[in-house]
């Protein structure tokens, strides 16, 4: 959905209320390997604050936040 070409896994969390998209991201990060790039598509306004706060706390990396017509794509790299 985004122009980032190295996405390992994309999660469609559109329509999920808070904190669903964040929980989906956490699950995917835990299942993945270091270096994986996870994309979460969210329509939850809470994701704008929650996902960056969790990524910083958990010491991962925000690669991109892209607002699209019907959702926002949060692209996160697993760092540890």
């Amino acid at each position: 959905m985004t122009q980032v070409t190295d996405v390992t896994r994309s999660i469609d969390a559109r329509g999920m209320p808070c904190p669903g998209p964040l929980m989906s991201l956490i699950g995917a990060i835990r299942e993945g390997s270091v270096g994986d790039v996870i994309e979460v598509l969210s329509t939850d306004a809470g994701s704008f604050t929650d996902i960056p706060a969790w990524v910083a706390k958990a010491s991962h990396e925000i690669v991109a936040v892209t607002e699209m017509d019907d959702a926002t794509a949060f692209v996160v790299r697993k760092m540890r």
Binding site: P17, P19, G20, L22, M23, A53, K57, A58
Partner: protein, 135 residues
């Protein structure tokens, strides 16, 4: 703010709206790597009975008719599932209040496995090192 202080919650209300609000706090704290200690009292404890944890527990009186209707249309993750998710990602302990067990005539076997054990208030306070939030 960057803190690893324990989030200590005492849940007393047993309505689905308050339990959902509490579960959001618990799952958020677990995600942010804060330990969580929960004590279940009275009507919250009653809602954790294994045979009715996912049944309809109603909403708070202040919801009114319109609030209740909105709540019933809402399709989020059930609070018990959120708590299971929180336990899966973090350090979350859920205790049953000993007095409440007596008053309601509940045995630990009656409770959902989400509940770790039965505690007196002194033991709970010993593990709750921050302030307590009462729901």
């Amino acid at each position: 703010m960057d803190t690893n202080e324990t989030l200590s919650l005492v849940l007393c209300s047993g309505t689905d709206d308050r339990l959902t609000g509490a579960a959001v706090l618990v799952v958020g704290a677990a995600a942010m790597e804060r330990p969580v200690e929960v004590l279940l009292q009275f009507w919250a404890l009653d809602a954790f009975r294994a045979d009715r944890i996912t049944k309809d527990h109603g909403v708070s009186p202040e919801a009114g008719t319109e609030g209740k209707a909105r709540w019933d249309r809402h399709t989020g993750t059930h609070w018990s599932e959120m708590l299971r998710q929180a336990r899966g990602i973090g350090n979350v302990s859920i205790h049953a209040c000993s007095l409440s067990m007596d008053v309601l005539g509940i045995d630990q076997d009656d409770l959902d496995p989400l509940v770790d054990d039965v505690r007196g208030v002194a033991a709970f306070l010993a593990s709750a090192d921050g302030g307590i939030t009462f729901v």
